[in-house]
Symmetry: C2
Subunit: 272 residues, 2 copies
Amino acid sequence: MEKIRRNERMSTMLKILSDAPGKLFTLNTFCALFGAAKSTVSEDIDALRQTAEAFHLGSIETTTGAAGGVTYWPRVDREAARAYIQGLCRELSGTERVLPGDFLYYSDILSTPETVNQMGRILATEYADCGADFVLTMETKGIPVAFATANALGVPLVIARHSSKVYEGSAVNINYVSGSGNIETMSLSRRAVKENQRALIVDDFLKGGGTARGMVELMREFHVAVVGMAFVMATVEPVKKRITGEKSLMTLEVLSGETAEAVVRPASWLSA
Amino acid sequence: MEKIRRNERMSTMLKILSDAPGKLFTLNTFCALFGAAKSTVSEDIDALRQTAEAFHLGSIETTTGAAGGVTYWPRVDREAARAYIQGLCRELSGTERVLPGDFLYYSDILSTPETVNQMGRILATEYADCGADFVLTMETKGIPVAFATANALGVPLVIARHSSKVYEGSAVNINYVSGSGNIETMSLSRRAVKENQRALIVDDFLKGGGTARGMVELMREFHVAVVGMAFVMATVEPVKKRITGEKSLMTLEVLSGETAEAVVRPASWLSA
């Protein structure tokens, strides 16, 4: 076999690591793949860590000891995050996307993979240390961004639904007051989570906070702690939500007039 | 500025390219990023193409001319795909996951990012040349795998819903006959797709094909051609579905007895 060069090893390792954020790979995995000595792979990883830092590609962490190895975490620094979200705000602001009832059309943004993945990486960076065992969302529109966040945190996604389906087995149902003031049902399969886990809630839209409050109550039924709540978009009004401690990427204000206009701004924590 | 080495350039390029499958990057993008000459970046890309091929990391394509550049496509070769799906089949087979009504619990598989991304890459490899402009799915459980497939194909995801929501604007609704024989409604925002586009349908589960048939009819309303239909799981019974030409990753048969047992097998096309 031809000797494998450092540039081949480094490129390949970064690809394998970044395809599985949060997953621990032992050095032996790469020694075997490349037919290389541990010292060689170690040096590769050191170089890779510096490259990732220099080009803002994420964070490469090594742990030593018997259970040691190397792990990749996607990270977006604050400045890049703010610039990215500002770009989205420009795209979403204006009159064209306002729907009757002062809603904003942004389903396209919520299902464009490149955008969704970047939002997921930004949220994962912000909630990197919250110790979430899974990401929780409520169907439907928040699923892609919740999935992208879960991917970047290296944890599973759990989807609460409006009604329990026969093919999910026994479920816990709760009632909650939705934004429109109706009593709705939220359902989650008993198999989906375990007691004493930690949940990060991620959803697309926050207005009054009824649905988010419902998710918090659902987690209480499962004896799961909610360690964070993140949203793509939060309305400026009402100021007082039914939840506290949440973060959103953008805020939405709709100015009425002859033609309603959406003003979308990056959330203030992105400027901190 | 310290000179940037080839191993740094190659690792960084592969990371940037693979974060945006299907996106064309001009060589100038990388020349500017690295302060390197075009000939240098060209050589890097050649080396990267060989590395990607040698280690089965996907495909790196270069196009020449004024609009030229470099694009990354995730690819899983047939053998690796079959081995991966065989592993999933082992995990899903047996008595533990069978629910009342002979349904199979696999929601966990459908929302574990690493698994879902690999399934998405396998489906994207199979439908690489179908020319899809977007991936279409019907809420809810298939959304993550449809999103992962869309990501790997570099196209947006479009989500059909059970009912039109006020915040999606005007919508097209159709009625279809669901698996349980009920008449149900499927809805899609008018803004979501354009006439004469091409759709790849991706969903989690295929039994009779009623929902899939509904999606085909929905696309007809939008004058969109369906260029492929892919499912994570298809039941062996009924043999005759309401659609034809679909591919699934796995087939499901539930053997009745004192304890019902699921037999999950890789689809035959994976062995071809």
